[in-house]
Symmetry: C2
Subunit: 225 residues, 2 copies
Amino acid sequence: MKKSNAAMVCFSGGQDSTTCLFWAKKHFSRVEAVCFTYGQKHSKEVEVARQIAGDADVPFQLLDVSLISQLDQNCSLVNPQLAMDEEKPADSYPNTFVPGRNMVFLTFAAILARSKGIFDLVTGVSEADFSGYPDCRDTFIRSLNVTLNLAMDEQFVIHTPLMNRDKSEVWELSDQLGVFDLVRTRTLTCYNGIIADGCGHCPACKLRKHGLEEYLKRRGLKDNR
Amino acid sequence: MKKSNAAMVCFSGGQDSTTCLFWAKKHFSRVEAVCFTYGQKHSKEVEVARQIAGDADVPFQLLDVSLISQLDQNCSLVNPQLAMDEEKPADSYPNTFVPGRNMVFLTFAAILARSKGIFDLVTGVSEADFSGYPDCRDTFIRSLNVTLNLAMDEQFVIHTPLMNRDKSEVWELSDQLGVFDLVRTRTLTCYNGIIADGCGHCPACKLRKHGLEEYLKRRGLKDNR
C-alpha cells in the first residue's frame, strides 16, 4: 500500500484500535483519531485514548454518541443495573453487544472525515473476535462501505487490518509495528476499567491474555530456533 | 400489503413525512413516530410534528442528533452564517444538503425500533425530489437496508412510499388517504419556518406550491370530466 493521503482511525485506546493507530501511521502520511463516548461505565477509556493519541502526535477528536445507549438499555456496558455476561449465551449475543454501535461509529467517523477531506477510515473490528458480534463481520463492513459511498456520493475506503487476525496475531502485528510494549502497558481493554493486564477475569481480559501467551510462546519458539 | 405488525415512521411534520405517517396508519396496526433535531434553524418544526402526531394518536419520540451538524458546518440549514442556496449549483448539491443525514436518521430509527420490537421503517425520501440528494435515492435506501440487517442481524424493511412520486403525486396520495386538508394547512415544509403555504419563495415552498397547483389542475380536470 502506498504511503499517501490521510486516514481517520476509530480509536478507543484499547489493544485493537491502538494497533490500528500505529498501522495507520505506517501506511498514511496523515492520521487523525476519532473516539466515541456512549455512556460506557468506564470513561477512563477516553483519557487513556487521548494520552496515547497525544504521545503518538495524532490529532484526537471526541464525539458524544450517548444517544445510542439511551435507545437500548439491554446492554451491560452502558446499563449499570445489568451484570455483564462473562460467557456468551448459547442462543444469542452476550449482553455486552450494543446494537448498531459500529454502524453509528463509522457513519459519524465518515461524516467527520469527509469534512476534513479524509476518505480512508480505519477500524479494528475482527471476525476472529470471540463473540461474533454481527457488526464486526467483514460482510457488514463491506456493505457499510457501499452504503456510506451512496449516502454521500463519495469514495470512502474502510480499512480493517485486524479483520482476520486472532488476538495472538494482533499482538504479533503490534510487535512488527514496534509498539508491542506500548500496547502491552498503556492500552485499556478490560471491561472493569483496569489498564494493561486488566482485571484478568472479564471476557476481554481473558481473550487478551490468552492471545498474549500464545504469541509469546510462538515468538519464544522462533527466537530459540 | 397486509395490515399487521408495527411501523416506525421518520417524521418531521413536513408534507412528505406527514403523508407517510398516514400511509403507515393505513398499512400497519401500530405506528410510532420518531423525529430528529439536528440544530435546524427552525425548531418550530418539532412542535408542528409533535402536534400532528398527537392528534393522529401516534406515540412521538424526539431524538437529538445535533452532533451531525457539529461535524460539518457547510450546510445552510444548520449554520446561521450561511445564506441558503435558492437554486441548485450546477456542479454540486445545494448547501441545504446535510451529508449523511438520512443515514444517521434511519440508523437511529432502526436501533430505536428494534428496542420496541418494530422492524418496519417508513421514510418519506423521494428520488423525484428536486435536488437529487444522494441519500434520497432508492439505491442508497436499499443498500442501507442490507447494512442495517447485517449490523444487527435482524430483518428490517425500509418502506419508501414516496420514492417515485413527484410533489403533485404526494398531494394526490394525501388526498387518497383522506388527509389532503390536514397536510395542506398544518404541515411545515418551508425553510423559513412558515406553516402551510410557507414563505412562497424558498426552494421547498416553490416545490410544494408547484406540485399542489399541478395536482389541483389534474383533480379539477377529472372532476369535470
